[in-house]
Structures are given as C-alpha cells and as structure tokens.
C-alpha cells in the first residue's frame, strides 16, 4: 500500500513536531503552566478550562489510537500557482511555515482508529499560514474522502483555519466548491461526517465543508465566524457583544449541535458514529434494484470507489462492523 506514508504517533516524542510551549502562563486566567501540565491536559488550562491551541500532531495524538495512524495524501505538496509576491514571496512563506511546523501543509489527513472505530481523520494546523485552505488542503480533503469511501470509514475532521489562502488567489476560493462536491460523494456512499470546530474556524473553511457535517461539535470558546469581528465592526460600526461568534453563541443560534470539552471529544465522536451506524444497517436491508442507477459515476475512478463502498457495506452490514484494518 504505497499510497500511504506511515507516521508513528505512538509516543509524544515521535510526532512530527513537539507541540510548542504556549508560554508560561494561561492567556485567559494567567496561572503559570508547564509544558508537562499542558501535554497532560491536552493544552487545556487546568485552572480555568481555557482551550489553548493544539497543533495537528497533538490533535492526532489526542484522537487516534496509538499506532493506528496511516497518512493519506501526504505526498500532495504545495506549489505556487500564481508566483505570488507581496512584501515576501509565497514560496518563502511556505518554506518558513514548513520549517517552523515540521509539516508539509496546514492539513494532515489519514486513516486511523478512534477508540477502536476505523475512521478517516483530517486535522488542520493553525500554525501553518493560519490553517488557510489552498489547493493542497482541498486536494487532501478530496483524497481523504476517497479513502473513506474506498475503505468504508466515517469521516472526522478537526478544523482550525483563518479561511482561504489568499496567495493562491481564485484557486483557493475554488476549494470551497471542491470540498463541498467531495462531501456529496461521501453522502452518496452513505458515510457520515462529523466535524470538530476548534478556535478559530472562519471564512472559507466555515463556509464550505466544516458546516456541512452531519453532526457539528465545537470546542468551548472557539471563534466560529464567517467575516470575523473586526471586519464586522469596521463595516457596520456595530459594537459586538462579549462572546460574539464564539461556540456558545453559535450553539444558542442553532448553528452547531454541541460544545464539547477537548478531553471528551474522542468519546463523543465515537458515540455519535455508533448511533449513526444503527441507521445504516437498517437502510442496507433494502434490496438493491437491478434497474436502478446505482453507479451514477459511470466508469470514472469515483464510480469504482462508490461501487467498492457499496460492496463492503453490504458485506459488513454497516461501516463499523467486521472491518479489520
């Protein structure tokens, strides 16, 4: 299976990069924090429960069962399609982001087990150019969806992003429709998508795949906003209330399903996937009619993935049962 690159996440020291120390004090309550305490608490302040940023390797460590992570689409790397230059070259910004994070892009994608449940998992890293979505984030998302369909796994994505990657111009905007279309393939394969919105998730990521999940959860206090409070205040000269656009406000306005403490996310994701699976088994009792257009994708690679998903689903009577990878 040479389409995968193995990244060992069996112990803290072996992740691609050590989660960086977030300073010595909690930015919310000011109590002193050591690296040890932070790692133990998944970067949540033990004093006030403020959720500090968690980078992508740390996120995988927190969600994937030890030793189960297999990277998908890691070979998809950024290019500089516009030869973009502002006060600096985009290619230089990319080099720096790669050197600083030890990552090749802002989105890590792979397959893993989450408390034993096979899943396709994607995690964004805000340190990498603000977690911005360019061509690589979109293509890795696409390939992650194809892997989910191919291996009949539910999709779980943790987002943290400032929005589209300006340096890729219109091509970054096109990742919005691209990821939305990819999710149509997932939905047609009958597979669920759970998104976990972490601070901050804004702009083009929030306005595309992140809000199209079947179940949306958010970490406490995360800013989840399309335009961002500064732009809103500048444009409308409105004074925004405390907590505007945060997870709790989004819950109140009906935009997300639940706010979940970081330490409980793994458990909650698995519970939701188990509940959703019950319905899938029921659906598959229906016989497939021969005259129905069951392969809407003709002879394209998508059609093959779709057909394979259907076979696996029928064979295993559900996407969680009987799969051993």
């Amino acid at each position: 299976m040479n389409k995968y690159v193995t990244v060992q996440i069996t112990q803290k020291g072996a992740v691609p990069s050590e989660p960086a120390a977030q300073g010595k004090h909690c930015p919310a309550c000011g109590i002193p924090l050591t690296q040890e305490v932070l790692e133990e608490s998944l970067f949540v302040c033990p004093g006030c429960e403020h959720h500090l940023p968690l980078d992508a390797p740390g996120r995988i460590h927190a969600l994937a069962d030890a030793g189960s992570w297999l990277e998908v689409a890691g070979e998809v790397r950024p290019s500089d399609p516009l030869a973009f230059e502002d006060v600096r070259l985009y290619s230089e910004r990319l080099d720096d982001a790669q050197a600083e994070t030890g990552l090749s892009e802002a989105f890590l994608t792979g397959t893993c087990r989450i408390n034993g449940v096979p899943a396709a998992l994607g995690v964004m890293d805000f340190r990498f150019l603000g977690g911005s979505m360019g061509s690589v984030v979109g293509e890795r998302f696409h390939q992650l969806v194809l892997a989910a369909i191919d291996e009949h796994r539910p999709l779980v994505v943790v987002t943290s992003s400032g929005g589209a990657r300006m340096q890729e111009g219109i091509l970054s905007l096109m990742q919005m429709p691209k990821t939305v279309v990819a999710l149509d393939l997932l939905a047609e394969a009958g597979l669920p998508f759970v998104s976990v919105l972490a601070h901050p998730t804004t702009g083009g990521v929030l306005a595309s795949f992140a809000t199209l999940a079947d179940v949306i959860m958010a970490e406490p206090g995360a800013l989840l906003c399309f335009a961002g409070p500064r732009v809103i205040e500048q444009t409308t000269r409105e004074k925004l209330p405390e907590g505007f656009g945060r997870s709790e406000a989004n819950l109140q306005h009906g935009q997300i399903d639940m706010v979940v403490h970081r330490r409980d996310i793994k458990e909650r994701v698995v519970e939701i996937l188990r509940l959703l699976e019950g319905g899938v088994i029921c659906r598959l009792e229906e016989p497939v009619r021969e005259d129905e257009e069951v392969l809407p994708w003709g002879s394209s690679p998508f059609a093959q993935a779709f057909a394979r998903a259907k076979e696996l689903a029928v064979a295993s009577r559900g996407w969680l049962l009987g799969r051993d990878t």
Binding site: E75, V76, R77, P78, S79, P81, L82, F84, D86, V87, S135, V136, E139, H142, A164, M166, Q167, E168, G169, I170, L171, S172, L173, M174, Q175, M176, P177, K178, V180, V181, A182, L183, D184, L185, G203, G204, L206, A207, S208, F209, A210, T211, L212, C225, F226, A227, G228, V231, I232, T235, T236, E238, F244, A249, H253, E293, P296, W297, S300, F302
Partner: protein, 293 residues
C-alpha cells in the same frame, strides 16, 4: 429625544460619500486597476437591467420561506430562447438610495436561502438555472453571522452541486469571495470582459499581506482577478466581450452579447443527460487547484 426618520440616513450618506472620496484619492492606476474600476462602476448594467433587456416575461419570486426576503439577491422566472429559466442574481443598485435598499449587493443568509429555494424549484420543473454574480461579498454583519451566514453559503454550494438541470453563472461586475462563489458552482462560468472575481478584495488583501491598504493596486495585480486570468487558470469557461466603451455605456448591447452566450451554453448543456451534467460538473470542481506531487 427620538431621532427623526431620515436624519440618521443623511448622516450615513455623508459618511459614505466621504469614504468614497477617500478611496478615490488613493486609487492606483495600473491596467488591472482600470478593470477593477469598471467592474465596480455603479452605471454598469446589473441583474435588473439584464432582466429588462433579456427576459420580457419575468416573474419575480421573493422570500426564503423562513424569515425574510433579501433584496440583495433577485430571483424569478423568465423565458430565454423559448424555454423557461430560473434567474438568481445579485443586485447592487445604481444610485445611493438603490444601493442602500439592495445593501450594496451584500446578501444575508435569507438571500442565500432564497437562492437555494429557487434552485430546487428549478430542479423540480426541469428549468435551467442562471445566476448573475455581482457583489463585494456576503454581508459582514452581526445579524448575518448569527443567522448562519457561513453554513448557509456552504449549503447553497451543496444545492448547486446536486442539481441535474443545466446551470450557468455570469460574473457581471464584482465577484467577491465566498458570497460570490455561493452562486457560481455551475456547469458553465462566464465573466464579462471587465469583471473581476477574487478570493478577497484587493484592499482587504493589501491590508493583510502588505499591512497597507494603499497597496491595493499591487494586490490586484498579484491576485490575478481579471477575466483573462481566470480563463488561463481554468476557473471560467468563456469571456463575454463588452462593447468598446465598456458595459456601463452600452447596457442593451452588452445584454445582447450576454444573452447570446447564455443561449449557446444552454444548447450545449441540453445535449447532455441530467446525470451526465451533474457528473461533469462535479468532476470539474474536484479538479480545481494546483498542487505539486
């Protein structure tokens, strides 16, 4: 003392005029910026002008069936070359009063919900969907955010991805980011010669990357936002030429060219089966982007 109606209004007008003056003064003067100016020219034909010139029997349909009708997005049915089509188009307004009424073409969630509703209606009755894009962006206001601006844009894209009827979009003037692409996940995407389509306004990009809004001209160059750029980048299918003086000076002639392009596109798309149209549309968007491997 309660303020009198109209008093706050003229204050608003004055401050907008001041801001316009401010922006005029620091305009850069590159070739690309000339296109930006034309794309934003308030005399440029807008959705309602094309309605008048192209659709003789237009019936406007209003409301999102949830909470409101958004005047930033006009919707309705009309006849184009013998068949009924559904039109969904952003409207900025020409003069200040109109622009305020249409919220400068900046739609709220109710506008995108109206678009979704009309797209589904078109699908139900096998009518092609034509969308006209002309917006600085989706409205960045507290009410819009609380009403789920981001999720509503995402679901609009999802509705367009699922359609099997022919879909065509035209960037009329300004194609501003997520608020624009929300109506432009279509089989064919056209741009008028002097329109722009961008992930962020040149001003916004300059403020973030150059930390200097007066670098908007440099940002406009770097972002590659002209119709020619987008054609080269494989994002759009065709450029609709404008009369030499520009669309703002020739509404009727521009409308004629636009109608011709739409009719040709429709004829091509009608050759395909419904499932084929959707398959090709999805494959097109799955290939968007450029990566190194």
């Amino acid at each position: 003392m309660p303020s009198l109606p109209g008093v706050g209004y003229s204050e608003e007008i004055r401050s907008l005029e001041e801001r316009l003056e401010e922006l005029r003064e620091r305009q850069p003067s590159t070739a690309v910026w000339k296109v930006v100016e034309r794309a934003r020219n308030p005399h440029r034909p807008q959705t309602l002008d094309y309605v008048e010139h192209i659709f003789s029997d237009f019936q406007e349909l209003r409301g999102d069936r949830v909470s409101a009708d958004d005047p930033a997005i006009i919707g309705g049915m009309g006849t184009l070359a013998g068949r009924s089509v559904m039109l969904i188009g952003q409207q900025k307004g020409h003069d200040l009063k109109e622009r305020q009424r249409h919220n400068f073409g900046m739609a709220r969630p109710e506008g995108y919900r109206k678009a979704q509703r009309l797209a589904r209606l078109a699908e139900k009755f096998h009518m092609p969907v034509i969308s006209f894009v002309d917006t600085p962006g989706a409205f960045p206001g507290a009410d819009a955010e609380e009403g789920g601006q981001a999720g509503t844009i995402a679901r609009t894209l999802q509705v367009f991805s699922g359609l099997t009827v022919p879909t065509l979009s035209v960037i009329l003037g300004e194609g501003g980011s997520g608020g624009a692409v929300a109506l432009a996940l279509t089989d064919r995407v056209y741009m008028l010669e002097n329109s722009i389509y961008s992930v962020i306004t040149p001003e916004g990009c300059a403020a973030i990357l150059w930390r200097d809004a007066s670098e908007a001209g440099s940002a406009a160059d770097a972002l590659r936002i002209t119709a020619q750029d987008l054609l080269e980048l494989g994002v759009i299918d065709e450029i609709i030429p404008e009369p030499r003086k520009g669309a703002h000076k020739a509404h009727r002639a521009t409308a004629k060219k636009l109608a011709r392009a739409l009719e040709a596109g429709l004829s091509e798309l009608e050759e395909l089966s419904p499932s084929e149209r959707r398959r090709l549309r999805r494959e097109k968007y799955l290939q968007m982007g450029q990566v190194a491997s």
